[in-house]
């Protein structure tokens, strides 16, 4: 509790933190709302193409399908809370407070644990936001075409989304922890998250090299495959991706645990 209390003292009057949190809080529902409006507009069109497309998409914004659809769309925006995570750790280095915290009486493990708790809390906040947005959109979107479906049947995506967010924010933290400089860390993370890994995944898919599935971000991305309508376009591949979710949960846990073990180990040994 003392670790969380101290971390709270560090952030509660940190304006930049709250600005990014507000941006996240606006962007997640905003993006989900835009997707949902697009879908709604499609439903109102009477032309044949729109009707075919609507048939193909099904009910992606009705519960329970919304849990999956919005987990997928929300996960594309992890880079926004990643800014906060990188700021948290690089601030400690630029102000040299990572040393002061130790001098004042934290152990090196306590310092790292406090940072891990930060990443967990931000992951929980983002997951809570996703859950609320999904509930609101799902409940206001009207019932699913199939009334027998349980609204909560796909709510396990909450857990998958939380794990994916924690894993990817841990990668952002790891870059900030190693690089120490805020702008450089952000640049590296955004370049990797938005460009490099997508290029590598694209190349892997094109040349059928399965190794791309084990790239750091892709490992956890594969816990939340594209929404169900994808299955109507490429059923075999969609079913294969669904069947791989469990193994990617295990890979994600292993990768995330490895990242944190590395952070704890390096922090314990290196000069501050």
């Amino acid at each position: 509790m003392n670790l969380l209390r101290t971390e709270w003292l560090k952030i509660k009057k940190y304006i930049a933190f709250w600005l990014v949190i507000i941006t996240t809080a606006l962007s997640y529902p905003g993006v989900s709302w835009i997707f949902r409006q697009g879908y709604k507009n499609l439903g109102q069109r009477k032309d044949g193409g729109a009707q075919v497309l609507k048939m193909l998409l099904g009910d992606p914004f009705s519960l329970p399908e919304a849990w999956h659809t919005l987990a997928y769309s929300s996960s594309l925006f992890v880079f926004i809370p990643a800014v906060v995570i990188i700021m948290f750790i690089s601030n400690e280095y630029s102000y040299k407070t990572h040393r002061q915290n130790i001098i004042d009486g934290w152990s090196r493990d306590q310092f790292m644990l406090a940072k891990m708790l930060n990443v967990m809390v931000v992951s929980l906040m983002v997951t809570l936001l996703y859950t609320l947005v999904t509930l609101i959109i799902g409940l206001t979107n009207g019932p699913n075409a199939n009334p027998n479906l349980n609204k909560w049947s796909q709510s396990y995506y909450i857990g998958l989304f939380a794990l994916q967010t924690f894993s990817q924010l841990s990668i952002a933290f790891f870059i900030g922890f190693l690089v120490k400089k805020a702008f450089l860390s952000l640049g590296i993370f955004l370049f990797y998250f938005l460009i490099l890994e997508n290029v590598l995944v694209g190349l892997g898919t094109y040349y059928k090299i399965s190794g791309y599935k084990y790239l750091p971000i892709e490992i956890s991305d594969r816990m939340i495959p594209p929404p169900a309508f994808w299955g109507r376009i490429d059923k075999d591949n969609y079913l294969k991706e669904l069947s791989e979710i469990n193994s990617h949960v295990i890979y994600t846990i292993i990768l995330t645990a490895f990242i944190w073990l590395l952070c704890f180990g390096i922090n314990k040994k290196r000069d501050l």
Partner: protein, 298 residues
């Protein structure tokens, strides 16, 4: 006297550069222990090691007879190198973090230390808006929070104006008089000479000497004397000792004897027997500055 801190054969390398070599000494309880040395001598490296910011390559240290630990550091008020605070927080909010981590002091104590370092009026201003001297005073306030028995201060008067320096010096003397133990690194010899009871002198990572300041200061006995005819008295004294120097600026003669061997009464009667009446005769301690330059070959 019990030791608050024992250093045993501390060695530290930065790559191939040896920053500290086999440094050992003890800090007695209740002492003000000055660590002296020119830039790059290893003072801050040494303090960083005893505060677990740096890892020694060899050797160990004991606080109160036990290996260093977070619970011990919580009881020690420390200021290392530069004031390290969250720039976007106010002075008072930064001290709340110090209080939360160390468990030292209360909300009232935070106000008290801010008043002690004359920052109470600016307690709600952001740290980034502070001048260098104010930042240093906030760091001293953080070290003083909860009135710890032991303080580690690295260049505590850095960035302070003359009034601030005098205030901190007075504060250290008050802390010393109330039984606190203070380990202080400084390159300000005058500061160390005025407030320290013990000292260690470092040069390029080597410990040159350590002990009570009085012991370090008095290496030779320097007798200072004067008479109407300086040349006559100098010639006469050369019969007693070859180390006689005339200081024309001060209008005195200095004669150096091995430590503890100068006899002022014998010098006075020897001069008188030889027809010279002295008008000034005193045993001078070598100033720490001179001793420091001698030891560090500067």
């Amino acid at each position: 006297m019990d030791s608050v801190l024992s250093l045993n054969n501390i060695t530290k390398f930065y790559g191939k550069i040896r920053a500290l070599n086999d440094v050992s000494f003890e800090v007695p309880q209740g002492s003000v222990f000055g660590i002296l040395g020119p830039n790059g001598s290893g003072k801050t490296t040494l303090l960083s090691i005893i505060l677990d910011v740096l890892k020694a390559n060899n050797g160990n240290y004991l606080w109160f007879g036990h290996p260093g630990s977070p619970s011990q550091r919580k009881k020690i008020g420390s200021l290392l190198e530069t004031p390290n605070f969250y720039h976007y927080l106010s002075g008072i909010n930064n001290l709340k973090i110090t209080q939360s981590i160390s468990g030292r002091g209360t909300a009232k104590d935070i106000d008290d230390v801010l008043k002690k370092v004359r920052l109470f009026e600016r307690r709600k201003s952001r740290f980034s808006s502070f001048s260098l001297g104010m930042k240093q005073r906030l760091a001293i306030a953080a070290a003083l929070l909860g009135d710890p028995e032991v303080l580690v201060l690295d260049e505590p008067t850095n960035g302070l104006d003359p009034v601030g320096i005098a205030e901190i010096r007075q504060l250290i003397i008050e802390l010393r008089n109330s039984g606190h133990t203070i380990v202080m690194a400084s390159h300000l010899l005058d500061e160390v000479e005025k407030v320290c009871t013990h000292a260690a002198i470092l040069r390029t990572g080597e410990l040159l000497t350590t002990g009570e300041v009085e012991e370090i200061l008095i290496d030779d006995d320097v007798v200072e004397l004067s008479a109407p005819d300086l040349n006559a008295v100098a010639n006469l004294l050369q019969q007693l000792n070859e180390n006689v120097v005339i200081d024309n600026k001060l209008n005195v003669v200095h004669i150096t004897f091995p430590k503890g061997t100068a006899r002022l009464d014998e010098i006075n009667s020897f001069c008188f027997r030889n027809g010279i009446t002295l008008n000034h005769l005193v045993l001078r301690k070598k100033r720490l500055e001179a001793r420091f330059f001698e030891l560090t070959n500067n």
